[in-house]
């Protein structure tokens, strides 16, 4: 599949916007998670976890799927390919893995938000689960930073598949 330069630029713009948006949303999520863990005011804590549930389902999950989809389109439609270069291949592995882990870890977020919806959460309540949410958000932000850095630096390295393909086409 090959795209015209105009379409390719549009697809690249969409992919960069969605992926960086995902990173920004996760950063906001991390700030809320830390605030929810450390804040003393029960009303603020309640608001924080309700906002996190909304942010997770309405922004982070759609952006993760959007990033994966637009990345696949970008890889298939550009000369970089999907499996030719190590940096693209690693991003292709990182993104679905991050999406899967995100979906699994939406459960504790939803649970804490459910509790916060019906009651005031004190600092001692659900402490391990709230700490888990902070660690997950930090790990997610780190993974997305790595993916962003790979996209910007595009470190050299052609996979065995890419070498075979280059030999066939040359």
């Amino acid at each position: 599949m090959s795209m015209s330069p105009g379409v390719r630029r549009f697809a690249l713009t969409a992919h960069v916007t969605i992926s960086v948006g995902w990173l920004g949303a996760v950063a906001a999520f991390l700030v809320l998670a830390v605030s929810g863990l450390t804040n003393h005011d029960p009303q603020t804590v309640r608001a924080v976890y309700l906002a996190m549930e909304l942010l997770g389902w309405c922004l982070i999950v759609p952006l993760s799927f959007g990033s994966l989809l637009s990345g696949i389109v970008q890889g298939l439609g550009s000369p970089w390919g999907l499996l030719r270069h190590y940096w693209v291949l690693i991003k292709l592995l990182i993104t679905p893995l991050a999406t899967l882990v995100l979906l699994v870890h939406m459960q504790p977020i939803q649970h804490v938000a459910e509790v916060a919806r019906h009651t005031l959460v004190s600092r001692a309540d659900l402490s391990e689960m709230r700490l888990q949410i902070v660690v997950d958000a930090a790990a997610g932000a780190l993974v997305l930073l790595v993916a962003t850095a790979l996209s910007v630096y595009k470190p050299r390295g052609v996979t065995a598949y890419g070498r075979r393909e280059a030999t066939v086409t040359s």
Partner: protein, 87 residues
Amino acid sequence: MYRKTWVRNMENNEDSQSVAKKAFPNPSNRRPAASEPTPRWVVVFGVVAGALFLCFVVLHLTGHGFGHHRSGSKAPEHVESGLGKIP
């Protein structure tokens, strides 16, 4: 004047890119050697990622992760009893 120069530069850039792509399908403009070794950064990345993944799996399997059913993960008592419930 400025715009004309800019457009010309963009066209030249596009042309040189197209030529490079035709000459070398590899976008890094470098034809890969047939038996190129795996780059060091890929090996280091793989080792670090593998170690982190192993840690994650071991922590979860041994129950040292952040479990959902640990004492600190219990929902507040007043959720079940209804005390302190928000109307």
